[in-house]
Symmetry: D2
Subunit: 343 residues, 4 copies
């Protein structure tokens, strides 16, 4: 059984493991105040052309989202998100648990339009009962989205411009940012740093054992972020474990290579699906593909492959999610393609 | 200028004021542990035919909603509400501030269908990622709804049955319950007590100076409710002020009479609107009417009357809300009707 | 049975009731946006010589404390309080419920020393593990304290200076401020407004039916305070009820007169206690007296008077609290004094 | 420079690293639903002789404490802790951030007496104002304590008996439980499982890269614990990383061996300190030693060794903390002892 159901089925890239092994018996201070974290921060700031940015290392995505949002919002504020946003759907109410409403907007394949965001902000502020209404205090998007889709540079610039005009920070969830960078190289790290107030570079799903690197670009989000991390149980005692991983990822381009591997594999699988005439539920340029299968096709394919169940659909048709990753080998991709051809 | 824009524009029914005046220099213990509160509780339990119910007196609706919901939910649970629900739209995120998600469902004129509620519960529980999804822990409805509409007895029974089958409490927001009782007398206090796990009898909008009486029918909601009240700043030092008001309201039917006065006035206004050919945005049997006017009609009417702006509509048409109340006099209604006829 | 166990055993001053009665059928907008609230705010600002202050009307003390503290603190901050502070002891964890630690310091008869506050702030900030420690974000004191004692002008100035040097706001809980003003007239409303960042003028215990007037002097505390009020269930629908009461209290000195009545009565009772040779547990210049009685003295006195049980003491001795109030009549005081003489 | 300042200065035990390396390219499901986690749970249940216990794997101690406490408490409840407790002092208010008060009691070298706990519970429950007082809902202790001290079996039994009599769960923070097990082998895993309602087996400080294993013995704490984990950002995507580590620790006694290594080293250092006539601030049988040094002794020792600064003391004297760990080698211990002898 080969797993194509998610992009966190293996441990980590062998080079990351090697770095952890090599440094294992080094003695360092805790809580991220070690030389590996310091160097990893410098490498990320350099990659982002953002020398003033603060970089923090966290363990996972839900934790990261909740923290950045908590750092940004005052109690009466909420965060705008697509209805399909991870914070709205799949974090067991983490944002609300921190006291804030997720203010949802309709989406198109996971993406929000700039016009819809502007209207939402204006409506909340101009409502005659504005004091009775949660006020937007942040915009949350993800890149790629839950649907594997991408904001173009123009779209991201439009969202950024609206957020700055409205004076609310833009936060980009980059749990799979490596796959976005590979699929749409015209949007680079410096672009994300320039257009976002905060974003994170996902490690868990892109070759690290675990870990996310938050980049805080907006000065207003920086004060006491580490206090918040500690309070919410997000300051790793051996913070160096995160520093070592991101140091490895950023010292010579491994992060981008991990992303490229997954996108290349996904492109091959996508071509095979189309060639076989299997309809995509919606098109995705990144490492997640969404294909409509009949129930019997699904059962046949799942004999050899674990796949994600995206939508039960009605009756005979199902939408399945196929994930490639930094770890997908050509042989695994070949096997999947062969099975697709036989459907 | 006559105000028909809300049902809390005056102080309180003269008999309530008289009772407050008469008792003013009595000395009593604080925090609701006085004879007036005791008697008011007894009167409400008797009216509800619910001798086991706990009755608590609170100051306002947002406070009441937040408290009952906090008493019911565990941290990972949310409360189902219509998208139009007061807790979702007009309480500045009070429920989320307490750590819980408002799980919204589409509505029809403010009402939820039993089928939609059942599906929402089942989907959340049966999702393969159920641990990543907020689980429904309560159903919140209001009677009348934000649209002035009413659940019929059959509809309320269906919702109640679903909640009991799913083992989640049903909480009914009765901020305007007096107007529901007058408009739909087939649903009585004992019905509400029988079908709901908790509900509240709104005083603020139905003749009291202020105050809401929460009726906790489900034993699971009772323990330490007063501790929660104190913690959330909702335990009035001179609790007797609430006891005196509800005592007056329930000792000989004043609460129902207050409701009837508003509904009678609203019926006269509704008839005048229809007679004049002015379209209702949707029909309401209670004390709130929603009428579509042109901008020039609106401006003309608002020269003499304060009205609620429900929806800016597009271009020339507006939906206005007309509220009658326990305080509306026949002369005030006559004046409004005369103005409607001249539109 | 006469009650001297608290200062909220009656309703309100007759003039307050008359004002509520007179205005009862006026029609006004809700939520504190009516002419009575506007005038009451102006009167309070004038009394405080603080034309820039924001004044908000709230229902009760726990609610007020929780709100002002929530408006001041970021998530990782706590509020410094005496161990005996009301927020620490008698609000069922309201501050913690809002996410913040109450950082307690030892006290002397309810009072904090400036040196202790300074040391607490410095220790928290200079700790090598400062990120792991709650950082002080506000100082909370009460005037009078829980022990009926008062900060002198010099003491309040010292606390204020330390808070400003440390850049943390000073919040003064004035639930019984009227009694402080009567007992120590050298500290005036303008002094409180000048030295505090926020304070509240207690109405519930000083002649109002209910209500507290928050005075926000520090501009940083003002933004969106009303949103927070609404969110926490603290925005009264008929906000005018509070405006009418404070308007009456401040239009010609009634608030100060209410305070004076209680302090005058307490002085008479205190003299009687000392004359009778009954030891004070600690001396209080305000409307609360704390006297040590033997169990048999207590039982004798409690046949005719309800008193507060402050401390069970050990064995035969009890500390009882005697409260006078705005409502205490000379005849009631005479009766208590007569009983004291007969102990 | 050798580090004896904490027990998390290295990575992990080589066997743990080997297990992570060996399993690195295995494909497994996420979120702790993999065979390694399943086996690790079984091994821990077996070690604890607690077949009904639920075992969950978390990343760090603050996170674990906050979660278990959140699972146990209702909103109006707090958790009893020693004033010196980690949750009170060094978690940036994590418990309060979740809405709950830490109810502190005085301690003796980090330990609480059963009598003090019983009195605290009784006082809170029997207070005439019990509704205004946070009610104890859990007892939190740590073993070893912050002072390196240990509860004896009799002491732990007494605390357990009081908690059961009072119907509040007993939660034991075992961040360094391995060192307690080595220093006081008469208290075994089955004892902890029998006497506690919940406890955790610390991995971060006892040989794992990171990770804590929570053992929930009391059925009331189990429902939906994983939902809470996910909500609070504590459900690791690659949960297997924790399973693999604890599997390794528990399959043949490695966890106990790690503890023993540190305790053996600490005993040698302790003997050297006493032999040299250096006074212990208080005695500790576990891997943390607290020694009083003069400033010049400290400076001399710190030329070669990183040590913990426990207490600045007054003037010339300092209390330093010396930590050994699973990673301390005989050579490192020899070096430290040699330096101590030369002080």
């Amino acid at each position: 059984m080969l797993r194509f159901d998610s992009d966190y089925t293996e441990g980590c890239h062998p080079r990351v493991l090697a770095a952890l092994t090599e440094s294992n018996m080094e003695q360092t201070p805790g809580y991220g105040e070690d030389p590996h974290c310091a160097r990893a921060r410098e490498l990320i700031r350099a990659a982002c052309a953002a020398p003033e940015a603060e970089v923090h290392f966290l363990v996972g995505g839900t934790q990261t989202n909740a923290l950045v949002i908590a750092a940004a919002l005052r109690p009466w504020e909420g965060v705008i998100s697509a209805e399909s946003g991870h914070i709205n759907c799949h974090e067991t109410g983490a944002v609300e648990s921190g006291g804030h409403k997720v203010m949802t907007l309709p989406h198109e394949n996971g993406k929000l339009s700039a016009a819809a965001v502007r209207a939402a902000v204006e409506n909340a502020r101009n409502d005659p009962n504005a004091e009775h209404i949660v006020q937007p205090g942040m915009l949350y998007i993800s890149q790629p989205t839950e649907f594997g889709t991408l904001y173009s540079k123009a779209e991201l610039e439009a969202l950024s411009a609206i957020c700055r005009a409205a004076d609310i920070p833009l936060f980009l969830d980059g749990a799979r940012l490596g796959y976005a960078l590979a699929a749409a190289p015209s949007l680079t790290f410096p672009d994300y740093a320039r257009l976002c107030d905060a974003f994170y570079i996902g490690g868990t799903k892109v070759g690290c054992l675990f870990g996310e690197a938050v980049v805080l670009c907006n000065a207003a989000l920086k004060p006491h972020f580490r206090n918040l991390m500690k309070q919410r149980g997000a300051m790793l005692a051996k913070g160096r474990l995160l520093g070592i991983q991101f140091e490895t990822m950023f010292e010579d381009g491994l992060y981008l290579a991990c992303g490229q591997n997954a996108v290349d594999a996904a492109r091959r699988v996508r071509a095979a699906l189309l060639e076989r005439g299997l309809p995509l539920a919606f098109d995705s340029p990144t490492n997640q593909l969404f294909v409509n299968l009949t129930r019997s096709q699904m059962e046949k394919l799942e004999r050899g492959f674990a796949l994600g169940h995206w939508d039960a659909g009605s009756g005979e048709n199902m939408t399945l999610r196929i994930c490639t990753s930094w770890a997908t080998t050509p042989e695994q991709t070949d096997a999947l393609i062969a099975a697709i051809r036989e459907l």
